[in-house]
Amino acid sequence: QQPVQSPQAVILREGEDAVINCSSSKALYSVHWYRQKHGEAPVFLMILLKGGEQKGHDKISASFNEKKQQSSLYLTASQLSYSGTYFCGTDTGTASKLTFGTGTRLQVTL
């Protein structure tokens, strides 16, 4: 079953922060995050494994709450280059199958 992302879309000014949420109805083993720019391939951002760890690089980080079956992606001090559609991908661990979410369209403006 497809994970649900929220919000569906968000517009930020450069320098503002954003949070993107990903919720699943099933127990999760891992969560992936990808960013896709218009007309391009999805690009890997990070993986979070079961255990509630938080990861990050540069000004993008993520958390994974396995009890709530949710993950959140945090973008701080957003840059124009952050614009794109963000997808979470969830793996329940039973078949190593990654199911992508509904997507969140992020637009960063000057």
Binding site: Y34, F44, F87, S96, L98, T102, G103
Partner: protein
């Protein structure tokens, strides 16, 4: 390292015609995936290969879609005959092993338009 290579980049065909897409994964990646992405939606898995074995093809419409990964390297996805609803971007991805803790590397995709 070279990324995942797909061809063609674009394809326009009439309904009922056949079409084929080709993918060359990153060298050393054992797992290969074909995804279909409709406009405004997330990628949907069609088939996953571990080396040359198709380990998950439950979402592949087998009446018209077929895929092969001979020698466990490059792969071809075929549609015959194509229908209007097949218009989408077909993405190939590869990873070292199972998805749980291995990032997927995507190719640029093939945008299929069926008229």
């Amino acid at each position: 390292e070279a990324g995942v290579v797909q061809s063609p980049r674009y394809k326009i065909i009439e309904k009922k015609q056949p079409v084929a897409f080709w993918c060359n994964p990153i060298s050393g990646h054992n797992t290969l995936y074909w995804y279909r992405q409709n406009l405004g939606q997330g990628p949907e898995l069609l088939i996953r290969y571990e080396n040359e074995e198709a380990v998950d093809d439950s979402q592949l419409p087998k009446d018209r879609f077929s895929a092969e990964r001979l020698k466990g390297v490059d792969s071809t996805l075929k549609i015959q005959p194509a229908e209007l609803g097949d218009s989408a971007v077909y993405l190939c991805a590869s990873s070292y092993y199972g998805t749980a803790n291995s990032p997927l590397h995507f190719g640029n995709g093939t945008r299929l338009t069926v008229t």
